[in-house]
Amino acid sequence: MTNLLQQIVSGLASGGIYGSLALAIVLIHRSTGVVNFAQGELATLSAFICWTLMDHGWAFWPAFGATLALSFLGGVALQQTVIRPIQSGPLLGIVILTIGLLIAVNGLDTWIWGGAAKQFKGPFSTSPINVGGVAFSKQDIGVIVVSILAVVLIGLLFAKTKLGLGLRAAAINPVEARLAGVRVGVMLALGWGLAAALGAVAGVLAAPSLFLEPNMMQTVLLYAFAAAVLGGMDSPVGAVVGGLVLGVLLNLVGTYVHWVGGELRLATALAVILGVLLVRPAGLFGRTAVRRV
């Protein structure tokens, strides 16, 4: 029983990281239809930036704030310089381009910071607390809280603000949105900026427990895709819930299904993707558009 609780708590903690990266992926996908394969590497880059600032003597929170701002601007700049010129072209081209970005950013990280893993001291202590036989750290709780907070904030932005309405409109029907006066180009750039900032949250959350190195987010990206597919590629809530569920599921399967163990963790995630696509392609929270014809 204790072991079960233990697996659930640590599953939620890793799930929070998958969920926040999945949230970034979903944001871009729902506004442009693009699956951004570089999202994980961008998150790693953000974590490196945060690490560098702290290495220069910044305290965590100011460094984190600056990282979020820089990542946001970086996302906007990336969309404007690299994505926009081919925005009107075939979707496949953009997706392939993001794979190119993945490789480029990974190379950039290695070039600047080297391949050796760095220790990243986050804001939350990683030393275990023991409650009724279940061991977890403040870091675990922090990850879960921050990822839920992120989705609540994003949800409020979309549902309650004029900017959110514009972002949704630009995603649903760009031609009509322009006729209503929405600057769709600006909305797309802001979408990339928001996604990059969310990716930064994921990267900084992950760095203390995963060790910071250029390939840090590569497997996380695959889990994030599984989480996004599970929750629904267009649902921000689904992304985070999908992340948390996936984290717990992987832990439970790894613990109780003996022939899976730790080695087949990734394979289990891919099985989840396959299963969801077969049974419920829209995901748990995905809404299929209702249309009267």
């Binding site: 004029k162 309405l165 514009g166 949704r168 409109a169 649903i172 029907n173 031609v175 009509e176 949105a177 322009r178 006729l179 209503a180 006066g181 929405v182 600057r183 769709v184 809404r287 558009a289 209702v290 249309r291 009267r292």
Partner: protein
């Protein structure tokens, strides 16, 4: 003075020339119908005005000023609302969100405007929380109109508002347009249904293969022999 003036406007889709020099004027407060067969350039004329297609030559004046780089966004901000054919609504947004979006170019979002629009369209009030895509065709056209109204446009461009709708609904829509026109909105409507368009409009133009071939009082055009034969069918 004219609110809108097109001088010798040309537009093309790739190699295909859609407008061969359209010249027309719309006075402030006017209600203008644009008639013509399929492919005559009616839709393209509206698109040229709202900046949805680029024009290759000619000039467009709005409110006495020549408008150079027209984009849909900038024209919307100048007070042009364009309701394209096929009832442009955001199908997965709620009715209320669609209306909020209509007021995008307004600084704030006023509940008074919303109440005013719901007075025009009581049925939309009943369905305010529904997804726009679940409305009937007529209701979606109403929503498209209502959304345009939220922008408080100076010029309303409508493309085939009667398309695919029952005669009763079409009458309802044109009654609404007449009321909007009375309250000061200048309207340009493109219609296949020449009968109802000429009955509602004050002035009309007839387009043929990308050119204006006839223009004048709607009542005169209604009596015009060739218009009767080609567009009214009697």
């Amino acid at each position: 003075m004219s609110l809108l003036e097109l001088r010798d406007v040309e537009a093309r889709y790739g190699e295909l020339r859609a407008l061969h020099g359209v010249t027309l004027a719309v006075a402030e407060g006017d209600f203008v119908a644009i008639l013509g067969a399929n492919g005559a350039g009616k839709t393209t004329t509206l698109r040229a005005i709202s900046g949805t297609v680029k024009t290759t030559s000619g000039e467009i004046f709005f409110d006495g000023q020549k408008v150079f780089r027209r984009t849909p966004e900038s024209m919307a901000r100048r007070g042009v609302a364009h309701v394209p054919e096929g009832r442009g609504t955001f199908t997965t947004l709620s009715v209320l969100d669609n209306l909020r979006l209509g007021a995008w170019v307004q600084r704030g979002f006023s509940t008074r405007d919303l109440a005013h629009v719901f007075e025009f369209f009581p049925r939309l009030y009943e369905r305010r929380d529904q997804q726009a895509g679940t409305l009937s065709g007529g209701e979606q056209q109403m929503l498209a109109l209502a959304r345009a109204m939220m922008a408080k446009p100076r010029l309303l461009l409508l493309d085939e508002p009667s398309l695919g709708l029952a005669p009763r609904v079409v009458r309802e829509i044109f009654t609404t347009l007449a009321r909007m026109n009375e309250t000061g909105t200048t309207i340009v409507v493109v219609e296949q249904n020449a009968m109802i368009a000429l009955a509602a409009a004050r002035h009309a133009y007839v387009l043929e293969t990308g050119r204006v071939v006839l223009g004048g009082d709607a009542a005169d055009l209604q009596r015009n022999e060739s218009v009767r034969r080609s567009y009214l069918g009697y």
